[in-house]
Symmetry: C3
Subunit: 328 residues, 3 copies
């Protein structure tokens, strides 16, 4: 098997920073997903490539996120590259160094860098200083573009750039960053959204307004049981106890939106059930056996998406001569 | 040099979780030690193999144990594989994720996993979720099977499946997990045990009873100086100050069981002196030069044992066709 | 391109511990810099070698210093080797293990080791126990030999063993370890030193006396603006607020010694502006564009210097037969 990237496709990503999902055109997304589809087989079959042999990824995580970090590191290793890592606190930041300087310094060690830092401005300043491509792995509550891409990839599930998709979001739609990001991203594709939540946890009206303006349909409801039969995809998020002032409302919301085998009986046979993980009890463990449960596949998809981005920005797919097979 | 593993020997370990030493039959131990003996030369000569090239080990240490972690990681690197690591706390466990889910997720990143977690049930739940082999690197005070195997390997020191071995244990026999595990393991081999300790730190009677029932001899004594001459092996463990209510008893016990050149003069010329390390002053530094001091060799043996287990469970030794040379 | 190391040059470093800059003869420095000059191209062009393939570096950092650690790890990876790492605290040291024992144990895992520990005696005891070469990455306020070497390498900037160099040090000369180390090192080369500082932060008189005794010239001044025109090299260090009892003096010193484009106009066109980093506002960001600003190059030089040391002590350049090309 081999896939082709045109000179133009290669040039879009070579040396590029991946900071915000807002920078991605539908064409960009198409390229990333084409490549991720190719890498997915390598991840599933646990095969190492030589594509990034000799290159070093620096993962800098100044906020805990073991899983995202391991996903990037596994991706880099499967591509044949190496990893250096800094986790926890940065003694030089504590001494007052700027993110620009940190970017300048660490890009002398690594060939591509991944940063997670709670400060929203961190990633932009860091990328400004860096002499190598930088990927945002989460800057506070702001952006986490590789999560958004892997969610979209999982939602489409091989169905390239699906229009008129019926997708439900259930759980905490008010505060859930992941749900906000994908909703905005799906706004480009004439999606029919079903926002299913308790009144206190509804999708923020500015997001609803935005996707409507883009020509999407929006159905808001409190009733999951009646809605699930209409959905192609159901994206479940965790409801946090801290959002509620009284515990009985919390318990009611939890039990009402819990996905268990009963609930799955009401759903379409072709439903995709997704969840950003970690999962607590908003999805019953018995549902894991259901072929429509695809939340653990999202983990594999995340590795494939990150491999695609690492390879694209590093230019290991960019050969000077026009159309070519990916060289491995 | 090359060694052979039969189809049957390979099949015993392929894809298997290494959770408890109680799961090991004498045949299993024989296979692991045969392979470890082979790898020992590679560790000592610092030679890298290609046996696990392209495979990823995830080391997950949610309790401090730098040494055990480095031992596994060195083993994986010497086998030609790569390592991803998470140490400290797990933000997803803290959010309430189950160990099963964690196993499901991280096994999408890695090809073999090593977990250390203080909770006894952690390893079983984690392995249940995992789609790849899991090795227990210590679950609380319960089990640490690779430590038990490396101790047994060091005790036998090339003498395959020694019967009627005379082994002394000295120090804290009441609380020392390592001493308990090896005692149980040696119970299978008609061992003559000498349990040498202060009365307050004696081997728990249920263990003594168990090995007697298996046909072993047990000698309990407070006197090391008179006993050491009879021993093939002396396994020394640290006595912790916190176990004593009065300091003078502690000091007396310490000095009475201290291994120094004088004490070594009383011992057999073929004695093996072992210690799980770290060592404080229960063995004098001058003893290190004595060829019978073999506690630092245990470190090397630990790498070899872990390499054997990594290679066995990953199936890199398991070729479809019958008897074969290990392929490297 | 290839360089030659004689049998004698190789033998000087094979298996050697790198603990103190005081152990380096001018000939040693010459060898290290020759090799670093060679590796510099590989670092800049981000090319991996096979020189240390199959060897393992252990980085043990018991005091925060992400940057130094990443520099060593990048160097090892560019040389084709692998890395194992322990950061933070050591549970075995906490249990009371000696540094000698730690050296004995970890050298069973790795082929070369780098230690950073705040205790001054740590590195010597650790190296004493180790069966493989050990490199000091900082033992408290005492020594950090690879920093001194990279600074000297950056000061000379390809000018091999420069005599009569005019170098200024500005900032905190009283407490700055880096400035002390390079001053001592440059004492061997008939240097003309300009120590520019506030009276409370002057270079310690014993160092001034020492370099004078070695035949160096020393000019002490508070005035940077008048001095900068005479300098070949200006080494800037950070002035810490905590050194001052009143804030207004601190602010005055800071502004007076700040390097900005105005100040650079007064300087020689061939000046090298250096800084150990992290930099706060003692050098204005606008100066970064000035070709004389060479502080970020120091980061690259640091990787090259560490690669040279790793390769030299590991003997991967030491072939039995006389003069030879470095084998890669």
């Amino acid at each position: 098997m081999s896939i082709y990237l045109s000179k133009n496709e290669q040039a879009r990503f070579l040396g590029r920073h991946i900071l915000s999902i807002a920078d991605f055109t539908p064409e960009d997304i198409h390229i990333v997903f084409k490549l991720a589809g190719y890498f997915e087989d390598y991840v599933k079959n646990r095969i190492q490539m030589d594509l990034m042999k000799g290159l070093i990824l620096a993962t800098l995580f100044f906020e805990p996120s073991t899983r995202t970090r391991l996903s990037f590191e596994t991706g880099m290793l499967r591509l044949g590259g190496s990893v250096i890592n800094a986790t926890g606190t940065s003694s030089s930041l504590e001494k007052g160094e700027s993110f620009q300087d940190m970017g300048k310094v660490v890009s002398r060690f690594a060939d591509v860098m991944v940063l997670r830092h709670p400060l929203e401005s961190s990633i932009h300043q860091f990328a400004e200083g860096s002499s190598v491509p930088v990927i945002n792995a989460g800057n506070g509550s702001n952006e986490h573009p590789t999560q958004a891409l892997l969610d979209l990839y999982s939602i489409w599930h091989g169905r390239v750039q699906t229009k008129n998709l019926k997708i439900g979001f259930v759980g905490d739609l008010k505060f859930g960053r992941a749900a906000h990001s994908i909703t905005k991203l799906l706004g480009l594709y004439k999606t029919h959204f079903y926002f299913i939540s308790h009144p206190t946890l509804r999708m923020p009206p500015e997001i609803t307004k935005q996707v409507k303006a883009q020509g999407c349909k929006v159905t808001e409801t409190e009733n999951l049981a009646d809605t699930i039969k209409d959905l192609d995809v159901l994206y479940v998020t965790r409801v946090q106890k801290e959002r509620f002032t009284d515990l009985s409302t919390y318990e009611a919301v939890k039990s009402c939106y819990r996905i268990d085998p009963q609930m799955m009986k009401k759903a379409n046979l072709s439903l995709s059930l997704l969840h950003p993980l970690p999962r607590l009890d908003e999805i019953a463990v018995e549902v894991d056996k259901d072929p429509r449960a695809r939340y653990f596949e999202q983990v594999t998809n995340g590795v494939a998406i990150r491999m695609a981005l690492l390879a694209l920005v590093s230019g290991r797919l960019a050969e000077p001569a026009g159309e070519k097979t990916i060289g491995f």
